[in-house]
Symmetry: C2
Subunit: 313 residues, 2 copies
């Protein structure tokens, strides 16, 4: 076999290469999630946990973890666990968000939401158990096999996940969101809310991937942080755009609900055209960060930024 040419900075994936990369990463993720989620749990709880996580979702966060880990030459066993852990935090937040006391949504990923399918109490518990499992995945007992993850890396991944998920991350952003319904927000306030609500976990994904190499170059860490921040905002801007322009069937969730709930969004604040331009600008910032990272191969990260901005659901 001929060795593939070593990619150099600035090289890009063809659509086919990216698709193959995604395919492989998604298979690895689905297989790991299926092996870990709900296993050993009491029957009803395990079923609700698996329903909430498996067979659905774009897996953007595990893709980001993996792409960042590859870019820095991180430990694969750590990257796969980190990717699944972040996805479980994302999944639990959707389960709780969809509940009647929050967004009261009945459709998610084209299926009835967890509380519709299993009842509210089970949805609450399944979400709680998924959060605990996220942290558990990061701290496997070291057993002397090739899958060992050094304790310092385990602890660091927990630290990054906790910061991304907790009151100064995702949960904090949701609380600001809750308090802001029906209020007029400035662009700064809206940005701060989303920096926490969606951005923290996306940035956390990139950082956890980068942390999979404990010797990662500090300049690369900073560049990947800048990339993750730009991508996090871009994701939310596009989400707000899609909520307006796409239909529920395409989204796999209820469209138009931000306006219906009188929630401030980038579209309500900037208008559709300026929101679109803002998303493209953020995408360019993400690419610029990668170009300045000093990392040899950031093709997957670059392609993921494009995907986030150009997605239709």
């Amino acid at each position: 076999m001929i060795a593939e040419p070593q990619p150099t900075a600035g090289a890009v994936f063809s659509a086919q290469e990216f698709s193959a990369w995604m395919q492989q990463c998604l298979e690895r993720t689905e297989s790991a999630l299926s092996r870990w989620v709900g296993v050993g749990a009491p029957a009803g709880l395990g079923e609700a946990m698996r329903y909430a996580v498996l067979d659905g979702g774009k897996r953007l966060r595990p893709l980001l973890v993996w792409a960042a880990a590859e870019a820095v030459g991180g430990l694969p066993a750590a990257a796969i666990r980190a990717g699944c852990a972040v996805e479980l935090i994302h999944a639990y937040s959707l389960v709780h968000d969809d509940m009647p006391c929050m967004d009261n949504d009945v459709l998610r990923r084209g299926k009835p939401t967890v509380h519709v399918q299993f009842g509210e109490a089970s949805a609450l518990l399944a979400g709680d158990a998924l959060q605990a499992l996220a942290f558990e995945l990061l701290v496997p007992e070291n057993d002397g096999t090739a899958e060992e993850i050094p304790a310092a890396l385990q602890a660091r991944l927990c630290r990054l996940l906790g910061a991304a998920a907790g009151s100064q991350g995702m949960a904090g952003g949701q609380a600001i969101d809750l308090a802001s319904v029906g209020k007029q927000l400035t662009e700064d306030q809206l940005r701060e809310m989303h920096r926490l609500k969606t951005g923290a976990l996306l940035l956390g994904s990139v950082r956890m991937g980068a942390a999979c190499n404990p010797q990662v170059d500090p300049a690369a860490w900073e560049a990947l942080t800048a990339y993750g921040q730009a991508l996090g905002v871009a994701f939310q801007v596009v989400d707000d755009i899609l909520d307006v322009v796409a239909d529920s069937a395409t989204l796999g969730k209820t469209a138009g609900k931000d306006a219906a709930n009188d929630k401030p969004t980038y579209v309500s604040l900037l208008g559709l055209e300026r929101a679109r331009a803002h998303a493209e600008e953020l995408c360019a910032q993400a690419h610029a960060a990668l170009a300045g990272s000093g990392l040899a191969d950031t093709r997957a990260l670059a392609a993921l930024a494009d995907m986030v901005v150009r997605r239709t659901h």
Copy 2:
């Protein structure tokens, strides 16, 4: 000053000594919780988190962590964090348990429950944020001070907490509980439900305390595990008894709700007198485990077992 005599195996605390020990441990716990909970969170969320955790609760779990850590000569900085982490898991579970879709309770520790005070959505988020914070507390950045906790210990504490809190621990037990309302359970099924629902976190407290000395003797570890298991069951038996014999004012929560909710309990299964005898038997088992632990000073653990069985609320 004359040095106090070194306690020997089998020595017991006087009521006064135990009271002083408790006092000191509770002050340390309250002060740490106040320093860590809700700080840096968006205002409304931080307030709900602090309301759920501060100024209330017996702090049994932190007391157990600290007593076990003392018995094995564990690292104090780790024990204080572990105690607070376990208490946060306990507190979040109460917040979610009290919600209308679960037990729908309006009174807790003599105060309105979190969802009554702040609304359901805020209660849901505060619980979620408390769980994330529990794990965050266990993995502080090591900064070269005396408070440093080795990474291996950080990871191990996360592992023990995750197992105690998640689908194979507390959350799993709650799911069995939920599925068993209105059903006839055998004593074995009831015991299994409580082993997870209440027992896992109490056992987890003892184990996390014991883990604070990474070189803890394996025989002592096993003995403390047996102690924690007996104590966990005893706690629930007494809880079931108090639900029947105490009034709401004494309990600080709604009394008689198990019968009202048609929940199987040790009292409904064994009757009041046999339930009481069972609690005493479990207390004796806990003492026997300590006596065989090979540890020089288990006075606090012994006194805590007595307190659990003889409490009136």
